[in-house]
């Protein structure tokens, strides 16, 4: 089964708001090899003008994940999770994410291409803060292999 081309352009309902926790920022920073005082030390972050610890550049993937789960759960999507490979990823930020931010992410399917037994789905998740101001857009390109022997 290939991915439903009619997914392209679909906007999913906003995911439930994600509250960025201070310890989650620290945990994610340590897990990605960071020793950044801005991510680990509240005083250092405040001295640099931030309200709280600053999330590492790829932290938004944690928030985006819920929107990708929504996409995979779309009943007509035709995306078999066990056949998905992460092809590309990008983050575009209007400002750094800091602990205390409440982010609401909305996923838009910006492209579906089916070719030679492989589907390429591009999903763009835009995240706004509690004031509705844009914080970050995370874009994932997912490569979905068709089942063996299926050339669709």
């Amino acid at each position: 089964m290939s991915v439903n081309p009619e997914l392209s352009g679909r906007v999913l309902p906003p995911a439930p708001p994600y509250l960025v926790g201070r310890e989650k920022v620290r945990e994610f920073a340590r897990a990605t090899g960071s020793t950044s005082p801005l991510s680990l030390d509240v005083q250092a972050a405040r001295a640099a003008g931030h309200a709280d610890v600053v999330a590492p550049p790829t932290f938004a993937i944690v928030v985006q994940e819920a929107t990708l789960a929504q996409l995979l759960a779309e009943p007509d999507a035709g995306i078999d999770f066990s056949r998905v490979v992460h092809g590309e990823q990008s983050f575009s930020l209007s400002r750094p994410i800091v602990a205390g931010d409440e982010l609401t992410a909305t996923l838009t399917v910006t492209g579906v291409k089916n070719r030679g037994g492989v589907s390429v789905v591009t999903a763009s998740s835009a995240m706004v803060d509690a004031d509705g101001a844009h914080v970050v857009t995370a874009v994932s390109t997912l490569v979905v292999r068709s089942a063996d022997g299926d050339d669709a």
């Binding site: 994610f28 897990a31 090899g33 950044s36 590492p56 550049p57 993937i61 944690v62 994940e65 490979v85």
Partner: protein, 143 residues
């Protein structure tokens, strides 16, 4: 701060990944796909071994840029912040249960935009002398 120049190498670093690193990232990120910690599951889907999460490699590879921006502990102040970051996942990183895996990162200034006050930093990220992230570009907004 001294002037930045296109072609300037701002960091050359290596990071050691172990199975412990993978489990820690799984917990921190919420990505519990078992191909990142179970040899039997990795083998059953035809992989050469347990793989590092692509997002772990992406997240680790940008750290030298973050360190550079934050002055690496000296008093030079914060140079700027990462306002965009993109990669292509071109090759998986197999993490041996005993030996782990090492990734090497070279970060080079590729472009400067004086008007927008941004710098583009390109990353060369390798494992076992092969590139694992393609078109890895970080845009830094300068303070």
């Amino acid at each position: 701060m001294s002037a930045l120049e296109v072609g300037q190498v701002i960091a050359t670093t290596t990071y050691a990944l172990s199975r412990d690193t993978l489990v820690r990232y799984a917990g921190a990120s919420g990505d519990f796909n078992p191909i990142h910690y179970r040899d039997d599951v990795a083998a059953s889907v035809g992989l050469p071994g347990v793989l590092a999460h692509g997002m772990l490699t992406m997240g680790t590879a940008v750290q030298p840029v973050v360190d550079w921006l934050e002055g690496s502990g000296d008093d030079s102040g914060v140079l700027g912040w990462v306002s965009s970051y993109q990669v292509k996942f071109t090759r998986p990183v197999v993490v041996d249960p005993v030996e782990g895996a090492e990734i090497s990162v070279v970060a080079t200034i590729a472009d400067l935009d004086d008007e927008a006050r941004t710098a583009r930093v390109d990353l060369t990220v390798t494992h076992a002398e092969k590139t694992v992230l393609g078109r890895a570009q970080v845009v830094v907004t300068l303070a």
